[in-house]
């Protein structure tokens, strides 16, 4: 419980916020993620007033396209963390995928083959994480931190330290639109909606909550916990792969240090800001989406507002902190929806 916010009455494990009345902001309290939404709206209004280019549909589409890669990873991570797992290697997995895909394409493989092959590879990598976590008792964070390093190296090896361009292969995915909506965004939305629905409306999703909430009970209730874990880690891997391909299609090339830890940390930040507990048992896709959007908007706003590049991390950090605090002040963790 220490990784969650400490609750005043732990015997009511999932009702921490109910333990102390919070008169201030109680109006927001009813709305889930009220705090996050408030901060987000503030950010948007402020930026819109200062930089007119912000509200142009072009810019808004940019923001959405820019966050879609993170969104896909964050989506998978939300489900995994809700089930009490953790994959710190998703960014690096994505990096490996970009590298391998770039190599395959530049060696004249067809896009279809490449996509299928790399997605399989990424899923396999996720599965390996799953095997380690499930069949040894190594803490997920530890295991995947190690695999993250390992995969970063693998990506370098695959690229042999060079950058590999794929010309305009896959650029359809990366740059063109459907009915004015970027393909990348469509993919991200599909993934998030799918994961969101799965978490809310399928037994698979509910099993994740049960496992994250109390793994013993899950097992005793007839849930095949090991199988579920493997599936979840494999899924996380697969989504990392997808994110990798999206990244590649955007950049048109794979270079060392693409994706990797940077991407991972952004995704993790988005997920936890969105209210998913590191300790498992609670998580929501809407929260994650808000987290991802917030980060995207901040980054964009900082550019449009011409904030000195040294101040940018300062502001980003500050906004994250404020968002987290405001959010906690009126969080009502229900039975995980």
């Amino acid at each position: 419980m220490s990784l969650k916010s400490p609750s005043v009455a732990p015997d009511r494990a999932t009702a921490p916020a109910t333990a102390r009345p919070r008169p201030s902001l109680s109006s927001l309290g009813r709305i889930p993620h009220g705090g996050l939404i408030a901060v987000l709206i503030l950010m948007i209004v402020f930026t819109a007033l200062r930089a007119d280019s912000f509200t142009t549909s072009q810019n808004l589409l940019n923001i959405l396209r820019q966050i879609s890669v993170t969104a896909v990873i964050a989506g998978g991570l939300t489900l995994l963390m809700t089930a009490g797992g953790m994959d710190f290697s998703m960014g690096s997995n994505a990096a490996v995928t970009t590298a391998v895909a770039a190599q395959l394409l530049s060696h004249g493989q067809s896009t279809t083959v490449t996509v299928i092959a790399t997605l399989l590879l990424a899923t396999l990598i996720g599965l390996v994480n799953g095997l380690v976590v499930t069949f040894t008792r190594v803490a997920p964070f530890v295991a995947t931190l190690a695999t993250a390093m390992l995969l970063d190296g693998v990506a370098l090896l695959v690229l042999n330290g060079m950058s590999i361009s794929i010309g305009d292969r896959m650029s359809a995915l990366g740059n063109s639109k459907l009915l004015g909506i970027p393909w990348l965004l469509i993919v991200a939305v599909v993934v998030l909606v799918a994961v969101g629905l799965a978490m809310r409306f399928t037994t698979f999703g509910r099993d994740a909550f049960a496992m994250g909430g109390n793994e013993h009970v899950a097992r005793l209730s007839g849930i095949n916990v090991p199988a579920r874990k493997l599936a979840l880690y494999a899924l996380a891997g697969g989504l990392s792969g997808l994110a990798g391909l999206m990244l590649l299609s955007r950049l048109g090339a794979s270079a060392p240090n693409t994706g990797g830890l940077q991407l991972q940390l952004t995704a993790v930040a988005a997920v936890v800001i969105g209210g998913t507990l590191l300790a498992g048992g609670h998580g929501t896709i809407p929260g994650t989406v808000l987290g991802v959007i917030l980060l995207g908007v901040v980054a964009n706003a900082l550019n449009l507002l011409q904030v000195n590049s040294y101040y940018q991390p300062v502001v980003t950090g500050a906004v994250l902190l404020v968002a987290a605090v405001v959010n906690e002040f009126n969080r009502r963790s229900g039975p995980g929806h």
């Binding site: 009455a9 015997d11 409306f201 909550f209 009970v217 097992r219 005793l220 007839g222 963790s333």
Partner: protein, 510 residues
């Protein structure tokens, strides 16, 4: 024992000055009230029992008294000074000690450290381990408990943990000692010791708040009884003003009768057979055969063989040796799926750790196992609520508000959810551990009836318990275990409760 006569001493105390004065306290959770305008006076040298049905608000009230929760309204006065908005630490400084309903120990630390936590003995800035151990031993010895203080708290059985917690609070002393269902999961001897201790403290002038669901225990122990119903005080009077019947009526608002009904004679074929079950020191060469429609109780002192049956039968843990047959087909041991697949349903006595997912809603917990057995792919709230409604009703699950996280339910209601979760999954055979742990009188009766019905349906029921009544009330046969071995077997018709207690448990009741 002679609880009645002892109650006299309580009245020796100065009636004019209550140590703690609670006035018009209200407490709500998410808009719904758990306590409504509650008054309470605690006098030094008095054992004040709180009684009420599950969810009546007992724990909430004492949690407010001990600063775990802050009241939404009303006042709390300690020796005349207003102390509303108590925090845990303030309460402790005021000498209010609290043993919660839920076991609260640092499972990773040693028993000694748990007992001494908050004032570890120091020498030259460093913790003096010898002193810590010796003082912890004293604290336990004071209650006549033998537990190696160097063991890790996590290794202890729930009974042992309770004793340690009581010892901890007693050692810290204070003028008010609050015990929330301390005997709910204790064996006869342990429970007896707790009561003796409580009396001693009372006689030393401590004000004791004592929560329990056991009528006779309360009547035998308390000087004053306050009854809560739906968060209101319905009656508060000296204990000698009550008799069992009234007390039950006050709590339940109706009479509760629970007698052993006529059940159809058990069928001949064996529903559940355990042979030569052995696991370390815990349980040795245990053998039991339960016919379909039969209820067999395994009765033993707290923490004896029967407490290990759940882990072994549910498949959580592989025994060193032994075999299990359900409906005449052998079941591989040490594998949960195998155990479930055989149609055996094991209901733990440790609902918090092994029974429920606190974060999930009541309905989801109710249907958790069943939906998995039926391989349901989809999960829809409305439809789930419809399916679980019947179970809520049959098992009398009371919640504040629609479908809260099960973790927010009162102890007894959680227990009901747990039973409903398992007993409604069409079992061939059932293993029940402590089915009425922390459940109120009315619910106990209901649950007993449900178990009768279960047997009547032709299910083989194995019951692990250390409650002689429960065994006598439910079982056709009783296996008595001791030090991991089966020492005797009785036919319920062929023995009286007192014989049973005398021969089996040694520890005579009060």
């Amino acid at each position: 024992m002679t609880g009645r006569t002892e109650t006299g001493t309580g009245h020796g105390a100065d009636r004019s000055a209550p140590l703690v004065r609670v006035r018009g306290v209200t407490k709500g959770f998410g808009g719904v009230a758990a306590l409504k305008d509650v008054d309470l006076d605690l006098y030094p040298g008095e054992i004040h029992a709180l009684m009420g049905m599950n969810g009546a608000g007992k724990s909430t009230l004492v949690q407010v008294l001990s600063g775990v929760h802050q009241a939404d309204g009303g006042s709390i006065g300690v020796d005349g000074h207003d102390r509303s908005g108590l925090t845990v630490r303030k309460a402790r400084h005021l000498g209010i000690a609290f043993v919660p309903q839920r076991r609260e120990l640092v499972m990773g630390l040693s028993v000694a450290e748990n007992i001494m936590l908050g004032d570890l003995p120091r020498r030259g800035g460093f913790v003096s381990r010898p002193q810590m151990l010796s003082r912890a031993r004293e604290a336990l010895a004071g209650l006549g408990i033998e537990i190696d203080v160097r063991r890790t708290a996590g290794e202890l059985t729930v009974a042992e943990q309770t004793m340690v917690e009581v010892a901890r609070e007693v050692r810290r002393g204070g003028r008010v000692l609050i015990l929330d269902e301390p005997t709910a999961c204790l064996g006869a001897e342990a429970a007896g010791r707790i009561r003796t201790l409580v009396r001693r403290l009372r006689d030393e002038g401590v004000a004791v708040v004592y929560i329990s669901h056991y009528i006779d225990e309360v009547l035998g122990l308390a000087d004053r009884v306050t009854v809560l119903r739906d968060g209101r005080v319905v009656r508060s009077a000296p204990a000698d003003g009550f008799d069992a019947g009234e007390l039950v009526r006050a709590m339940a608002g109706r009479d509760v009768v629970s007698h052993r009904p006529e059940r159809p004679a058990p069928a001949d074929e064996i529903g559940l057979a355990i042979r030569g079950l052995t696991h370390g020191r815990s349980i040795r060469d245990f053998t039991a055969q339960v016919r379909k429609g039969e209820v067999v109780a395994v009765l033993g002192p707290a923490g004896d063989a029967q407490s290990y049956l759940f882990d072994l039968l549910s498949g959580r843990r592989r025994p060193l040796s032994g075999e299990l047959h359900v409906d005449a087909t052998p079941v591989p041991m040490g594998r949960v799926p195998a155990s479930l697949g055989s149609g055996l349903r094991c209901v733990t006595g440790d609902r918090r750790a092994l029974g429920l997912v606190p974060g999930l809603s009541v309905d989801e917990n109710l249907m958790l196992a069943d939906d998995r057995f039926h391989r349901r792919r989809l999960h829809r709230r409305g439809e789930l609520a419809r399916r679980s409604a019947a179970r809520r009703k049959d098992y009398g699950v009371v919640t504040l508000g629609g479908d809260p996280p099960v973790g927010s339910l009162s102890g007894g209601n959680q227990q009901k959810v747990l039973l409903a979760k398992w007993l409604e999954t069409a079992p061939t055979a059932c293993f029940l551990e402590d089915p009425t742990n922390g459940v109120d009188v009315a619910a106990v009766a209901d649950i007993h009836t449900l178990i009768d019905a279960l047997a009547a349906r032709g299910v083989a029921v194995l019951l692990a318990s250390s409650s002689a009544e429960e065994a006598m009330r439910l079982a056709d046969r009783i296996l008595v275990v001791r030090a991991g071995r089966t020492v005797a077997e009785y036919d319920t018709t062929a023995i009286t409760r007192d014989e049973l207690v005398a021969t089996a448990l040694g520890g005579a009741p009060q």
